[in-house]
């Protein structure tokens, strides 16, 4: 793909998206995804003119996207395109990396999380995250899930026990661990450990769940359990999932965002992205014509 042709294609696509939304916008800025679904849902996350830098490296370039409540959004794109960086910007996990800089706005329920008065601990409680490699704490299965509750000041043992059970049930792992709550999580299989981490994230009742390649190290059965779990969880949560597995993005997400070289190339309903993407670059990527 030649640079100039790619830019022209992208420019045409971007202008047509903005034009089609012009009549429905109340804000002066156009954000992709705001009017993409016929089903009326609240905008949970709205990203406007967002840029992110690692030192002098411009990792995210003018990202505009609106994510609706209780939707699953799949983020796809080649390695190094900014998928995980974008995900980590949503709960400001990148703040802990030295020499990084964020510009622009990410609104969650209408509040810009990059405002100076934003409490990052509260933000990370509201926006849970699960990583590619399951990382249970060296505590019992029960304590792994109870940990977040305890550090958030919950002291009532009965409440903790109820919430641990609910989280493990919500993460579809209760039946497998209910008799092993005192065991070490490292005795669980990889898929079980990953669902335990999801249960741990759910225990503190976040509003949004960020999943960074949650099934990439799992076998097909564990992967299918995690995917089924995502499908169940979207009734209560807004979920953003980064995945290299395009079939997985197609199976689990309502909307898909295709990133390349730090830019959001296309954001649309998943069925549209995988049957008739608007942008030639997206089509070349999803059909494996470049990579």
């Amino acid at each position: 793909m030649q640079g100039t042709a790619m830019k022209n294609e992208k420019f045409l696509n971007a202008t047509s998206i903005f034009r089609s939304q012009a009549t429905t916008q109340t804000s002066s800025k156009s954000v992709r995804g705001e009017s993409a679904s016929p089903v009326k849902k609240n905008i949970k996350i709205k990203v406007e003119s967002f840029n992110f830098y690692y030192g002098n490296t411009w990792a995210l370039k003018n990202i505009q996207i609106a994510i609706k409540e209780n939707n699953v959004v799949g983020i796809i794109g080649p390695s190094g395109c900014g998928k995980s960086t974008f995900l980590r910007c949503i709960n400001r996990m990148n703040d802990i990396i030295k020499n990084t800089r964020a510009e622009g706005f990410i609104y969650i329920d209408g509040k810009n999380i990059y405002e100076k008065d934003q409490d990052v601990v509260t933000l990370r409680r509201d926006v849970g995250m699960v990583f590619q490699k399951s990382n249970p704490f060296p505590k019992s299965v029960f304590e792994n899930v109870a940990y977040g509750l305890r550090i958030n000041g919950v002291k009532d043992q009965r409440v903790i026990a109820q919430k641990v059970e609910k989280s493990l049930k919500d993460a579809a792992i209760w039946d497998e661990v209910k008799d092993r709550l005192s065991d070490s999580p490292f005795s669980l299989s990889g898929g079980q450990q990953q669902r335990l981490c999801i249960a741990r994230a759910l225990a503190i009742e976040p509003r949004i769940l960020l999943l960074d390649e949650p099934a990439s190290a799992l076998d097909p059965i564990a992967t299918s359990k995690v995917e089924e779990l995502i499908h169940q969880l979207k009734k209560e949560y807004t979920i953003i999932i980064v995945t290299h597995n395009m079939q997985q993005a197609a199976r689990v997400s309502d909307f898909s965002a295709f990133f390349m070289m730090g830019e959001l190339i296309e954001y649309d309903a998943t069925s549209k992205i995988f049957t008739n993407p608007s942008n030639k670059i997206t089509e070349d990527y999803v059909t494996g014509r470049f990579g």
């Binding site: 995988f274 049957t275 008739n276 999803v286 494996g288 014509r289």
Partner: protein, 222 residues
């Protein structure tokens, strides 16, 4: 542009469909010739040749299913293979209609309505052209050509109506004894027009493949 293993598979699929389309065109041509010349031998040969088309249909269908299972195609690849499955079924149905025409040819007595036969020959030419253009539109991803096929369907309908009108009003209504030798022609005209309908269906699938818009039952979208 990266060359993919899938591209080679799609090329083989296209070749199989082209083979099948060529056999179907031959079947349409031969069935009409058998009817015109009352050539029972040609009709029998054409009926036997249908087996090859049936076998090819199975091969193409299995190939498409394999491609879905093994490559999990998306975007244009997905639309291409989905269209190939439809085209495969339409071509096989056309071949069956050509077999029907051969059976009419075998039932046809010696004397038949001459003008109707000439019009049936014209209708057969239209059908063959529509099939060829529809397949060319698929291979070349040519939407204009697909639209041309759809527009030609009106002409096929008009000609079929002319043939039926002539056979019913100029022959059957005037002389009841000609009914046995006009019915096969009437049915053959209907079969040929149906072949044209199947060519139209292919053209509509081709437009779906190119535009990702279903125009079937929605001609206003053309």
């Amino acid at each position: 542009m990266q060359k993919r293993h899938l591209d080679e598979e799609l090329r083989i699929l296209t070749t199989d469909l082209l083979k099948m389309a060529a056999l179907v065109e031959d079947a349409i041509h031969n069935s009409t010739e058998a009817l015109k010349k009352k050539d029972k031998e040609l009709a029998e040969v054409t009926i036997c040749a249908d087996k090859k088309i049936d076998e090819l249909e199975n091969i193409v269908e299995e190939r498409c299913i394999d491609l879905f299972a093994l490559f999990q195609p998306v975007a244009i690849d997905l639309r291409f293979i989905a269209t190939a499955i439809h085209i495969n079924a339409e071509l096989e149905r056309m071949a069956d209609l050509a077999v029907n025409i051969c059976q009419r040819a075998m039932e046809l007595p010696e004397q038949s309505a001459v003008k109707a036969l000439a019009d049936i020959s014209k209708l057969s030419d239209i059908a063959k052209t529509m099939v060829k253009k529809a397949i060319d539109a698929f291979v070349d991803r040519n939407e204009e050509l697909a639209q041309e096929v759809i527009l030609t369907d009106k002409e096929a309908n008009r000609l079929r109506n002319d043939i039926i009108r002539e056979l019913v009003y100029d022959h059957m209504a005037k002389d009841g004894s000609v009914v046995p030798r006009t019915i096969p022609l009437l049915l053959a005209a209907r079969d040929l027009e149906r072949i044209c309908d199947h060519a139209c269906a292919i053209a509509e699938d081709v437009i779906y493949m190119i535009r990702a818009k279903v125009v079937k039952h929605h001609r206003e979208l053309l």
